[in-house]
Amino acid sequence: MDEDGAAEATEPLRATPLRFRNGRYEGRGMPLAAIDDLREYQLLLQEAARAIWLERHPGSKKVPQKVIESVSLRLVAFEPGSVIPVLEREATLDLSTDFDLFLAAEARVDEAFAAIVEGRDADAVALGIDGRRLHAFGKRLTTTERVEFKRTEQQSVTYSKELRKASIKRAEKPDTQNEPKTLTYVGLLRGIETKENGGTFKLRRFGGGELGGSFDDPESFKDLKEALDLVDGSSFVRLTVRARVSDASTTIESVTQVEQFDVEDSPWRHRLRELLAYEPSDDDEIDHDPVRIEDLQQIDRLLSALPGDLATTAALGSAPGGHTFAEWTAANRLVRVQIDEDLDFKAYQKILGARPAARLHFDHVEDVSAWVQEAVAES
């Protein structure tokens, strides 16, 4: 800007060209019906810009209107070949910063269509552009017509009616087998190998089998390495991963969490481990949240504080919400201690036919241990 605050006159910047090919685009000019796709293209750019701006301003919930308006296009001419609409960036764009939001939005839209062309619809939506908005573009293309997004001088992405139709079909009936899922695995880490930008690991799973996987960030390596160093037969890990699962294989693409589980050896230790390793099967009708490691450590403290016979006869389980409990059942009563959200002990005793049963809360393991002994002794 000059001293008066007025924008300096600059040459209009051309947007990266789109090329429309075949069919109606072989003639002179551009069919009026296809102009709507250019308007959709601008809306796509603005949605991408909105997503980028929010990522760069994590505290903000709304994007200023002027930012959206800065990503606007002006149709100034057509070039032959078949038809290349000459789109210029509106002069309202603030170029005073190094970061060019317009270019970033263009790149993101190109990336989204590249993902759709390759059948990776979820990756396209993950870029922050609504699927319906993406599908609104190209609605007027006929079977033979194509749109090319010029990514670089050497690369371009070609979009067609068929590709758009296939993407819509996938959105209506997602192929869940191809989508990455969040899964957990429990076992002993047997090795890590680092490569550029990540690495691979091997996990010997409880329940049998060895599993290989990849990780793609230094933080995961740090956590995995720490867990590997601790492995001495008494420590094991639960890995939360993103994986693609098919009938033939499971491909772990990234590690999102590494948790170590380490309790003293005890007669119930293997049961805590089984609880942690539990994986819902097709037979499970109840939705099940993962067991919290902290819950198991609290249960371990409780069982350690109880006399041996009570500790070994406790039924251990996890409620559908993921909270772990120990339970004793006799002919006329049921005694249960459940770990609550704050890792305190919630105790409950139900006598057959009598109600209501009182719910008690204990902060200290010694207190809840004494209560359990008394309640079970009354049976």
Binding site: L275, P320, E327
Partner: protein, 147 residues
């Protein structure tokens, strides 16, 4: 539905020594606000579950973590058992499925208390999972229910 049919509910991750019953097995899931997200607990008849398992997983042993309650036991605790296959629901279920109906129970604790009673009754009855159909369960490894 016959009065002595045993209906079953699978309770994931229950671990126990001997024939012990998880009362949670008969409690509908709570929502984020601590309320019951439904007042129906879907259960499956023992016979249906056994046949289904024999067809779909002939080489697998029966699950260890399945608990049963009979219609008589449920009604003695004030719980109605609804035959879901007779209902005109949006998603009809095959025969052999039913629901424990907690519609008039009012609060979550009442449901939990009643479910605990059902658990005690089922626990007292002993073994819950039915024998495999026609000997199709080929895995002879002992389960905790074989104690």
């Amino acid at each position: 539905m016959e009065g002595d049919d045993v209906f079953m509910r699978q309770a994931p991750t229950i671990h126990y020594d001997g024939d012990r019953v998880l009362s949670r097995a008969f409690v509908p899931r709570k929502d984020d606000f601590g309320q019951l997200s439904g007042n129906l607990m879907s259960v499956t008849s023992a016979q249906f579950a056994s046949e289904h398992r024999a067809k779909t997983r002939p080489n697998r042993k029966p699950p260890q973590h399945v608990w049963g309650v009979s219609i008589d036991e449920a009604t003695s605790c004030g719980v109605a058992v609804r035959d879901d296959s007779q209902q005109h629901t949006r998603t009809p279920v095959p025969p052999g499925h039913a629901s424990l109906v907690y519609e008039n129970f009012g609060d979550v604790e009442h449901v939990e208390d009643t479910a605990a009673d059902l658990a005690i009754l089922a626990n007292n009855r002993g073994r819950l999972y039915p024998e495999a159909v026609d000997g199709t369960t080929q895995d002879d490894s002992p389960t905790l229910l074989d104690t």
